[in-house]
């Protein structure tokens, strides 16, 4: 019964982990399977339905807004509401920005996609939210990596917050129009009633901001991580399953891989767990054997679960491991450079193994890449080869993730390259 309750709680409402603690004597006990009584948890409710008033308030706000933006996140994926979001955008022509967990809800190569929002988000997403007069947020929690300074977030905007968890609404900032309910259901209702014209002036303004603030990096013959992710995005046409570890490589993957489908960008998000990427990729390929799976890992992160090379080899799993090798705990080094005067403390991985040798030790083919000219060939070869493959990219060591808004900053407080 406990196990059934645990699964029920884990999978309904706002999905999440449940811990089941089974002591040894219980493990060794004999049980007879119980008859299937319904699960009865008086303290647990699987979420409410949005009221008609809430829906009407949203529709009313949409009618009056001139500069609306959608901010969507992991909750949309949990609800399986990507289709409904796409239908909503088709009807309303409202541009969309996502959290890290929301990548792929809407195809990122489309004109109305603003990419990721927040500390390492695109400049245009941050500008758009800063100038917006209505933020329609769906399945997000306004995490501090996105919001920065709460007082200065979206200063001109009314905020609509749609979420299945009532505790999230108003948790970080005050919300003008709260809507508690399942996103799929709420959006289906909205889609059946919404009827507003496209705000062409706003769309023109957005297109202008986008063209004036593209994602950039120095393309000067060194092996740049952004170049690798771009190439991967192009070659897999944004449809591969990408898992990441935690750090600079994670942010480059988030910025430069253009996801076309939801549930393809698998990352630990707010948990920030190094060592996640490779095992997650193993799970992903077992679940989706027909899709290409690439684990993008840092050299620091990869060594936290490096022994799983044995698992990949044992089950001959077609996981492609791309190590973005810069010999540092990159993200921390970047912060030490920017905020602590380059006092690099315990972030230099002075000794790294030769990852290709390690892979070969596990009987896994490996490729080393040190020049940009080798990138495309290596990616193609890795994807073509059966079974697990490791690619060790020796990227530019002190490259920083840009753009960046420092902690506590407002959405236009970008650190300029020169200050880095």
């Amino acid at each position: 019964m406990t196990i059934r309750e645990a699964f029920y709680i884990a999978r309904t409402g706002r999905p999440g982990p449940v811990l089941i603690d089974i002591p040894k004597d219980v493990q060794n006990a004999w049980i007879s399977p119980q008859s299937l009584e319904p699960v009865d948890l008086p303290g647990y409710s699987t979420g409410r339905k949005a009221t008609a008033e809430q829906i009407d308030a949203v529709l009313d706000a949409l009618r009056h807004a001139r500069r609306p933006v959608i901010y969507a996140g992991g909750g949309v994926t949990c609800s399986g509401a990507s289709k409904q979001v796409r239908a909503f955008i088709k009807k309303t022509r409202i541009p969309i920005t996502t959290s890290l967990m929301g990548k792929g809800i809407y195809p990122e190569n489309e004109e109305l996609s603003l990419g990721m929002l927040g500390m390492h988000g695109t400049k245009y997403a941050n500008y758009a939210v800063h100038e917006s007069d209505l933020i329609i947020s769906m399945g997000v929690r306004f995490d501090d990596r996105v919001v920065g300074n709460v007082q200065r977030f979206a200063p001109l905007a009314k905020i609509i917050h749609i979420d299945i968890d009532p505790a999230e609404i108003g948790k970080r900032l005050s919300v003008d129009i709260p809507v508690v309910g399942d996103l799929k259901a709420v959006l289906t209702k909205l889609n059946s009633k919404v009827n507003i014209p496209a705000r062409q002036e706003w769309l023109d303004q957005i297109a202008d901001i986008k063209s004036k603030n593209p994602l950039t990096y120095k393309d000067d013959g060194r092996l740049m991580p952004q170049f690798i992710v771009r190439a991967l995005s192009r070659i897999t046409r944004g449809r591969a399953i990408i898992t990441t570890d935690v750090g600079q490589h994670q942010m480059w993957a988030a910025l430069y891989y253009q996801c076309i489908e939801p549930r393809r960008f698998i990352t630990s998000g707010g948990s920030g767990t190094m060592g996640y990427g490779f095992p997650a990729a193993i799970g992903a390929t077992v679940g989706c054997p027909k899709l290409p799976v690439v684990a993008i890992c840092g050299d620091g992160s990869f060594q936290m679960c490096i022994q799983e090379l044995a698992t990949a080899r044992m089950y001959h799993l077609p996981v492609k491991i791309f190590i973005f090798n810069n010999g540092y705990l990159g993200m921390v080094r970047q912060w030490q450079q920017m905020f602590y005067n380059r006092r690099y403390s315990h972030t230099t991985l002075e000794f790294n193994p030769d990852f290709c040798q390690v892979a070969k030790g596990y009987d896994i083919p490996a490729i080393r890449v040190t020049e940009p000219e080798e990138v495309e060939g290596a990616i193609n070869q890795a994807l073509k080869t059966e079974g697990p493959v490791l690619v060790d990219f020796h990227i530019e060591r002190e490259e920083n993730v840009m753009p960046m808004i420092p902690p506590g900053g407002g959405q236009t407080d970008f650190i300029s390259e020169g200050e880095a």
């Binding site: 709680i9 948890l41 008086p42 303290g43 009532p166 505790a167 108003g170 948790k171």
Partner: protein, 119 residues
Amino acid sequence: MQKIISILVRNHPGVLSHVAGLFTRRAYNIESIAAGETENPEVTRITIVVSGDEFILDQVTKQLEKLVDVIQVQDLKYSESVTRELVLLTIFVSVKQRQKVIATANTFDAVVLDISEKP
């Protein structure tokens, strides 16, 4: 600002720990707490006085409702409830002072529950 919250929870071990754990994690300050079985042996009532600003107190209620063991959360508004506080005082008195103390207690309708020699 203070709030009195009355919670109905499932009566089994570990529940109080979950509630206290939530308060600790989120740094909500418990001013006082009392728990006891209700007329339904499967349900316990926990009454908590918590302090904080309005935003924090709103979050306390919402976060409590998320706990699986919590069946119901009630915000006891001062104007809508009858409240009593109970204080048990131990006073060390010499034989000479005893009468005076008892007289004072009577003035304030305090009840003397016990008199004994040794503390």
